[in-house]
């Protein structure tokens, strides 16, 4: 089969193969799985393991046009329901269905990184933003009349440059440009200086700058590079994590659109520091609309001698980058899972140790850094460690991109030095009336007004970038329930506590929302959360109970208002009506005792 041959029948390119299969046949049939298995020398079950893991791969036929509505909480509050209804009515299918003629599929998908312009949707590879019932209706009607998705964006879409195409689909919403990333950036200045330095000098510079990973975990970048550089190995790899899936995060989207050269410059510098010849940009499937733009930038860099052999004329400085597209899996933002995904496996985290810097991609030492981190590194090489170190606060140096969304006047990107208080940020975004702010997305911290004096630093309120603002009209428990359902959807299922425990947490929150909880259930939430955090295998399970734990701490009244004491030794959580429902159905009659309006 030619798709497999495009990738030299390489099993490590399984995700690419299956994405191409999905694009062409709209599903991955058992027959295709057998063919792919044969071509790549795997068993069918191994192919099926990959095909069934990623949300954007399907084992049932999908429509020629697949519409994925982002159902993040921010989109819901921005009017998702009416948008979904408009699509349903025009296309004649419900969300989750495919039309009988195979033309359309309509489904929900978690955060696609467009929370500053919600509600948003992906229509095949095209992104539609700021949807309303009216625009959704006209888009659906146009699609039904045979208009290609890209024409929904612009009549002459194909004549636009890749950058124009991307920015016509998606606004960047840069609200505040800081000194490091979004202000003026001279071309290749960092790389130019890096070629004059030894790898050790590069690493020392990055170490001295105090740069820490910007994806959320905050590991010291220089140390990561030093570990990888000190490994004696045949090959070393540099991977860029552009899988920002944390609901409410969209900062990397803006860098990928506006600073792709800076990103690749940073990766090239990292490659020189650790002696890597090959790099991978892991681009989340939701950002497929940026692929053409990024491929174009890579091609341009190869032409200009900034990638490929003897970069900038330095003999032996060889490095190139390929793009690995993801396929809808939040867990792939975890570095081990990201590596698994690049290797053509289900996106499951790897057992640590060994750490990726020792044995990562295909067993070789691997540096994995976030998009923003690489961009910072390139700027640090240009301007020096001290310049960067002087910004921010002790332990949190430099600037940070914050993606702000939710109930505020100016959602978008703010590049600020570390150390601002939440109040200061809210002043800038135009919402001093906020009732709650989710810092760092669902895996971060939900704070109330009494904590708005806290600072955005690694030591106080750490964030990978997401800041979601909620007004007093929002239901905290509804938000928490949504976030728990997100983690249930995105858990890889490898370990027991995260796979099963999060489902239990979700069910417990549902009980609170229905008013069926009692005081003991608060203890239950805390205990269960504790077990999940302590026994989970990776960062997902170690943070997934945070929506519950941080709201229990900062919004205790919300929970106590929803609990009631148990009466008559019957636990309030016991709902007799739903308990006897099955029996009622089977017996085909109602309960004489428990149905109040029972009459014969």
């Amino acid at each position: 089969m030619e798709i497999c041959e495009t990738y030299a029948n390489d099993r490590h390119r399984m995700l690419d193969i299956l994405l191409d299969v999905q694009d062409r046949f709209r599903w991955i049939s058992p027959k295709v799985m057998e063919t792919v298995a044969r071509q790549t020398g795997l068993s069918r079950i191994e192919v099926e393991g990959v095909a069934s893991f990623y949300s954007f791969l399907s084992q049932t036929p999908k429509g020629r046009v697949t519409i994925r509505l982002c159902n993040d909480i921010v989109d819901r509050y921005a009017g998702l329901e009416e948008v979904a209804k408009a699509f349903e009515e025009v296309l004649g299918i419900k969300v989750g269905q495919t039309s009988n003629d195979g033309a359309f599929s309509l489904e929900y998908t978690p955060c696609i990184g467009m929370c500053d312009q919600a509600p948003a949707a992906m229509v095949n590879d095209v992104v539609l933003t700021k949807l309303t019932a009216e625009t959704a209706r006209s888009a659906a009607e146009a699609l039904k009349a045979g208009t290609s998705p890209s024409k929904l964006v612009n009549e002459r879409f194909d004549d636009l440059t890749a950058h124009e195409q991307a920015t016509r689909m998606v606004d960047n919403n840069i609200r505040h440009a800081g000194e490091v990333l979004l202000g003026p950036v001279p071309e290749e200045a960092g790389l130019g200086k890096a070629v004059g330095l030894t790898p050790t000098q590069i690493i020392t510079t990055v170490e001295n700058s105090g740069l820490r990973g910007c994806g959320g975990a905050g590991f010291t970048t220089g140390r990561k590079w030093r570990f990888a550089a000190s490994e004696k190995a045949e090959k070393t790899f540099v991977l860029c994590n552009a899988d920002e899936g944390e609901p409410g995060t969209f900062k990397d989207r803006v860098l990928l659109t506006e600073r792709p050269h800076l990103l690749f410059e940073g990766m090239t510098i990292a490659a020189r520091a650790v002696g890597a010849k090959e790099g991978i940009l892991y681009l989340r499937g939701e950002y497929v609309y940026l692929r053409k733009l990024l491929e174009g930038v890579l091609a341009e860099r190869r032409r200009r001698g900034l990638l490929g052999k003897d970069i900038l004329g330095v003999a032996g400085f060889d490095f190139d980058i390929r793009i690995q597209l993801g396929a809808g899996a939040y867990i792939c933002g975890e570095e081990g899972a990201l590596i698994s995904s690049c290797e053509g496996l289900p996106g499951e985290p790897k057992t640590r140790p060994p750490f990726p810097v020792n044995r990562g991609y295909l067993g070789y030492p691997t540096v994995v850094n976030n998009v923003e981190t690489f961009c910072h590194a390139a700027r640090i090489l240009d301007r020096g460690a001290e310049w960067f170190h002087a910004m921010g606060t002790e332990g949190s140096h430099g600037t940070k991109l914050l993606s702000v969304c939710g109930d505020c006047l100016n959602p978008g990107i703010y590049e600020l030095p570390y150390g601002h208080t939440v109040w200061e940020l809210l002043e800038m975004v135009g919402d001093e009336d906020a009732a709650a702010v989710q810092v760092g997305g669902p895996s971060g911290t939900m704070i109330a007004r009494d904590s708005f004096h806290r600072r955005l630093t690694f030591d106080d309120l750490a964030t990978g970038g997401a800041v979601i603002v909620f007004s007093g009209e929002r239901n905290i428990l509804e938000i928490v329930e949504y976030y728990m359902s997100f983690f249930v959807h995105e858990s890889c299922g490898y370990c027991t506590p995260c796979r099963v425990g999060n489902v239990f947490l979700q069910k417990a929150i549902q009980k609170f929302r229905k008013g069926l909880a009692n005081a003991e259930d608060i203890e239950y939430l805390k205990e269960l959360s504790g077990t999940i955090i302590e026994t989970s295998r990776c960062g997902l399970g170690m943070t997934s109970p945070n929506p519950i734990l941080t709201t229990l701490k900062n919004f205790p009244l919300v929970y106590s208002a929803m609990t009631k004491p148990s009466k008559d030794r019957i636990r309030a959580t016991f709902d007799i009506q739903s308990a006897i429902d099955d029996a009622r159905r089977i017996a085909k009659r109602r309960s004489y005792i428990f149905d109040k309006d029972f009459s014969q």
């Binding site: 099926e48 899996a329 995105e490 295998r537």
Partner: protein, 243 residues
């Protein structure tokens, strides 16, 4: 690993008991050799470590880690049987009970079942508080000698590794994600695979629960004379220590 490195042993402690290990050994491997039992479900002698069930969670150097995958470190103080860890393990075992359909009285694995035995060992004696997920997956009885009831599967993956690494086959694999992740077979059903009842993956010792069923031998050993009727799970390892 060179021979000399392997011989250079070091010691660490588990609940205060000194244990000898060599470089590259996991905490659990060293513990097993020393006759200290660390509860586990997904780990099984002779198979690759997976670190999925997390029942072997111990505290090492103040951090909670899976003993089956965490390398032993010289001088480290490992906690194993503390009330806190037993509580975590009990929670995990309860999660597995509630995730599937585990009705011991009607299960032919009762008495040989490691999940059941682990519940006894961890003193899971009170009614549990978790909700039941009650899966409803079709029984696969297509194979002449083997049946599969994945409603009882605990996703330990021992059959997957045994089939791949010991039998050199690949009859089983994981499919799906999250709570929908489960063990499936390489084909439409078990009859369409090259599984044989003589495979190591199908043998009594590999599946810890009553998911992989060998037909026509169900009650050859009567209840009361089964493996865990004779002693707590882990007693074989612990007996080494008393020797």
């Amino acid at each position: 690993m060179s021979g000399t490195e392997k011989e250079t042993g070091f010691t660490f402690t588990i609940d205060g008991v000194e244990v000898t290990a060599h470089a590259g050994q996991t905490i659990m491997e060293a513990a097993d050799e020393a006759g200290v039992y660390i509860p586990r479900l997904c780990d099984h002698e002779g198979l690759r470590h997976q670190g999925g069930c997390r029942v072997c969670t111990v505290k090492a150097g103040g951090r909670s880690v899976a003993a089956c995958t965490q390398p032993a470190a010289p001088g480290q103080a490992v906690e194993n049987e503390t009330p806190h860890l037993s509580k975590l393990r009990r929670d995990l075992v309860e999660m597995l009970f509630h995730e599937g359909n585990h009705l011991c009285p009607i299960c032919e694995a009762s008495g040989n079942c490691e999940l059941q035995a682990m519940a006894y060992r961890l003193e899971m004696v009170e009614p549990t508080k978790f909700p039941y997920l009650e899966p409803c997956r079709a029984l696969d009885a297509s194979h002449p000698d083997i049946a599969l009831d994945t409603n009882r599967c605990i996703s330990c993956g021992r059959c997957i590794r045994a089939s791949q690494d010991v039998d050199g086959k690949g009859v089983f694999g994981y499919v799906g994600r999250g709570i929908h992740r489960r063990v499936a077979v390489n084909g439409e059903n078990l009859a369409h695979t090259d599984a044989k009842v003589t495979d190591h993956a199908i043998s009594e010792e590999v599946c810890p629960v009553g998911c992989i069923i060998r037909k026509r031998v169900g009650f050859v050993t009567p209840i009361g004379e089964r493996e865990f009727d004779k002693g707590l799970i882990g007693h074989e390892i612990e007996e080494k220590r008393h020797d």
